[in-house]
């Protein structure tokens, strides 16, 4: 029986998108259109027809719909860097937290 998700982030990115749709922050039609556009772009760019390409398109689509929910690219980049530092600064085995103490 194959694992449902090849990588944990595949599950996380799909789950987040679905939860935003379920909570009404993104309409199902907007999500489908945005994901469809990212998949088309991946094909046009000659990306291989793999699960990794698919989930990368899901991530790109999620970043786009998040921007519509007022999470700007600048917010996102700065949070990515904050997490990168948190991971690099945290000894193995300890919970990774942002400097302000949040853990998500």
């Amino acid at each position: 029986m194959p694992r449902t998700f090849a990588e944990p982030w595949h599950a996380q990115v799909l789950g987040l998108a679905q939860l935003l749709v379920d909570a009404g922050h993104v309409t199902p039609a907007d999500w489908a259109q945005t994901l469809g556009a990212e998949l088309t772009r991946a094909t046009r760019d000659g990306k291989p027809d793999t699960e990794d390409t698919y989930f990368s398109a899901v991530l790109a689509a999620l970043e786009r719909v998040s921007a519509e929910a007022n999470i700007t690219p600048r917010d996102l980049e700065s949070r990515v860097e904050a997490w990168r530092h948190a991971y690099l600064d945290t000894p193995h085995g300890q919970p990774v937290r942002l400097k302000d103490g949040t853990d998500r």
Partner: protein, 216 residues
């Protein structure tokens, strides 16, 4: 024997960093950042993502759809309700969900075969069939299921006679499809559970056709 202490020191620091950082790959880091932002802004409740992942990794899968098909095979009233309004009919099992949207059941017969695709992206009745298989999301399937469906079926091992009509249903965000396969011969008197055991995920998408005790 004197070691190159500086070199060893740098190597050790590198190993140390490696062991201690466990830095996730870039896309995982971006997802983590998005998660923390949507939670912080109250768009999604903190524990719901973990719960969603557990649900779809462990609990929701094609067995749900198989139960629905088996019920339709043994219970003519349920069969009628399923064909009339599948969205409502699956609530009898508690299998409804936002992720499934509106559901339409399409039934195979001796002279008709149904095949489901989402040409735009990957719309799928998740709450009924669980996560879609990798091939369903592939660009090749999404394009070819419409352009050359008989060839696609052949690659799944189904040779559809020319006189069997083939209908391809293109899923959308608002409407998704469940293929109701034909009940296999030789299963008279079987229980719903036994029958459900014959129903494959692919049969409910349409990339499998002949089910049955003699088939697999």
């Amino acid at each position: 024997m004197p070691h190159d202490i500086e070199h060893d020191g740098a190597a050790l620091a590198d190993i140390h960093r490696h062991l201690h950082s466990h830095l996730p790959p870039e896309p995982a880091l971006r997802v983590k950042a998005l998660e923390s932002l949507v939670v912080e802004r109250g768009l999604v409740a903190p524990e719901t993502l973990d719960a969603w992942i557990e649900l779809y990794s462990e609990h929701i899968g094609p067995k749900r759809g198989a139960q629905v098909i088996a019920r339709a095979w043994v219970d003519p009233d349920f069969h009628a309700r399923l064909m009339d309004n599948a969205t409502d009919a699956i609530t009898e099992f508690g299998f409804e969900g936002n992720a499934t949207a509106h559901l339409k059941a399409v039934e195979n017969t001796e002279s008709l075969h149904n095949l489901v695709v989402c040409t735009l992206c990957s719309c799928y009745p998740f709450s009924l069939l669980g996560m879609s298989p990798p091939w369903y999301k592939s660009a090749a399937y999404r394009a070819r299921a419409v352009r050359e469906p008989r060839m696609v079926l052949a690659e799944f091992g189904i040779t559809l006679p020319e006189d069997v009509e083939l209908r391809v249903w293109d899923s959308t965000a608002e409407l998704r499809y469940l293929v109701v396969p034909q009940r296999p011969e030789g299963t008279e008197g079987w229980t719903e559970d036994q029958l459900a055991g014959l129903v494959t995920r692919n049969a409910m998408i349409g990339t499998d056709r002949d089910l049955g005790p003699g088939v697999r």
